[in-house]
Symmetry: C2
Subunit: 250 residues, 2 copies
């Protein structure tokens, strides 16, 4: 993991990094005083590691709770090259939307494919983060994501024992995701917009029902995907603070 | 409204009152320093104004947020006489439960009948509370309830313009409640237990969908009716603080 830039603003240190083909960013308190946990943030499909909503949440978490937050570009997103298949999918989604046709199946196929590549990338990123001086093997780790970042997060959390709590936003649900949710036992919160016309309520409820976690919460709110209200960001920070307190804290 | 007792413990003043046939209790900061809002708390069926969960929430709201909280016994509950019809209903519920039969229809009939009597009682209580020196016409008012307290709260909020935000817990849902929800436009939060075997998920979702509020949130959580986790109590307090800040606050 190579840090390629470092800037500091309003008490938040922002460091861009590269790890093999992965481009990422790490936010932490500029004071150097960090609290658990380390959060992995998975951006939405078509967005990138510095998507406005993701950055707003990261800044809130770092500023108000002292968390450390890491985000990486998904394959074919942000600073990473798009291959021909990525390009085809992006065009198919745009065309379906322009024609007023449902995009869910195209998005599901695309997200599944990208997430399959992203899971080992997150695991490699996690290895590298845990090798940093400020993060150790005892630092509890959480995952938070939206759309594509939910698909990746569900597949990652189902197989990666280092993820100890997860917060998921809206996603198009298929059987593969429900299957992944059945393998997840850590505390989960799942936040969905109730009134978005593309949103599949029944799929969301099936996904929530599938989580095998002893502690799980579904938050449905009026309105669409964006903006996420500030109180929901804060509720999410509280969820992580509650479930990922350092065991050896003084 | 006649205060019949006054005690103070851990910074919370508790005053019991009588208003005609209504028996009630009012909690407020012993310091006398109150913040908005005034919350009306509706207890669950078979419980009373000092049900343990209701008291725990009231103490949390008063201690941490400076709210004032009022609760009254529903007709036939707590310190109020049970008439023959109340008695019949209570026995019918006990018998159905003992026989392992569904109780929902009996509870729905009973709650509807009790709530119809409770709505004007809450309105009279509100008139009397607003006549107290520490509560004025500008004090924003919220309503929070569980089961029977939800039925009453839905019917009250649908017709009473003084209720400016409402928090509802689990309830057996019928068409009358869905109809009441359609007339509710103030901010609403609705908290349901996901794993209680008596709980009707489809009914809960129909009720949530029916609220005409621009701001509404559904919180579903793993586990049964009780206990309500401390973080949900706090989330509820934040909901009221956010939506019921005093307009003329300095």
């Amino acid at each position: 993991m190579q840090f390629i830039s470092e800037t500091s603003s309003d008490g938040v240190l922002e460091r861009h990094f590269i790890l093999d083909e992965i481009t990422g960013v790490l936010w932490s308190p500029a004071s150097g005083i960090v609290s658990a946990p380390l959060l992995l943030a998975g951006h939405a499909g078509g967005m990138h590691k510095k998507a406005p909503g993701l950055v707003a949440s990261a800044i809130h978490f770092v500023t108000n709770y002292g968390f450390t937050v890491a985000a990486i570009d998904a394959p074919g997103h942000g600073d990473r090259p798009r291959n021909a298949r990525d390009q085809q999918w992006a065009e198919a989604i745009h065309q379906a939307r322009a024609a007023g046709e449902p995009i869910s199946q195209i998005v599901i196929d695309y997200s599944g494919s990208r997430a399959q590549r992203a899971v080992p990338e997150w695991q490699a990123t996690l290895d590298a983060l845990q090798a940093l001086p400020e993060i150790d093997a005892e630092t509890p780790i959480g995952y938070a994501g939206m759309t594509l970042g939910v698909v990746t997060g569900l597949m990652l959390t189902a197989v990666e024992p280092r993820i100890a709590a997860a917060s998921f936003g809206p996603v198009f649900v298929d059987d593969a995701l429900v299957e992944a949710a059945r393998r997840i036992t850590v505390p989960v919160e799942y936040r969905i917009p109730w009134d978005d016309e593309e949103f599949d309520r029944a799929g969301a409820i099936a996904l929530f029902a599938a989580f095998a976690s002893n502690e799980k919460s579904l938050h449905a709110r009026s309105g669409g995907y964006q903006p996420v209200p500030e109180y929901e960001r804060d509720s999410s920070a509280r969820f992580f603070a509650r479930n990922l307190a350092r065991r050896n804290a003084a």
